[in-house]
Amino acid sequence: MPWLQRSTLGLIAAGLTLGLFLSPPDYQQGDSVRIMYVHVPAAWMALFCYTAMAGASAAALVWRHALAHVAARATAPIGASFTFIALASGSLWGKPMWGTWWVWDARLTSMLVLFFLYLGYIVLAGAFDDRERAQKSAAVLAIVGFVNVPIIKFSVDWWNTLHQPASVLKIDGPSIDPSMLAPLLLMAIGFATYYFWVLAIRMQDEIMAGKIRALRLRRAESEAGDRSS
């Protein structure tokens, strides 16, 4: 765990210094391209977390593995945060380029839908009193959602080309030259280690909560047992 913490902080610090200080501004977008060093890794992580969530859910349902449920449930808020960051930074990046805060660009729109899928999962996971029901229900939703992500992406792309606003610059900007690639990768790996770090914390939390519930149940039953005997 501590090495996760150190590598996350180290990677992100390196990524930031390179991204903000050393890498050159873009010839068209100027310094606003630096938003890419947050936006693109966050977008990658948003998709990575949803895939991880669906994978863990499938493993949990097929092999009835409780830990996989815990992993999926712990991943959801992290994925949702990355999606939110991707949306916010995408909008902030879009403003100087297209003059409006929100553009129904194909990628941003798909990211918005992914954000709704995350919210749906989180709310469903919390909508049942019985924890086991909540886990299994949310797991089925994660898988159904995952199957739909490519279909939604396909439809949004088609829909976007249909109503193509005069967007001159695509969101990911010109081809990335090496000096920009390094900070981008550093930030991406830094975000990934952040994910595993917070995942570990949330899973430990969930496992301990499981123990607490078991102890509480035993106390309630032994009390009932004492009363009836």
């Binding site: 930074s89 902030l92 952040y194 939390d205 106390r219």
Partner: protein, 60 residues
Amino acid sequence: MTPFQAFLSMGGYAGYVWPSFAIAALALGALLFASLRSRKATAAELDALETQAGEEASET
């Protein structure tokens, strides 16, 4: 316009670059902080329950 101020202005895009980094830092920081705090609280609760269960075991 000292180099530091030039850096801060981000070629005129300061209003967009800094907020996006700030939002990222805030979101990730808040999630981390909330997770750490919740884990600490759960750990404390678990210890309390376990010590209590331990005492009862020793009494009976």
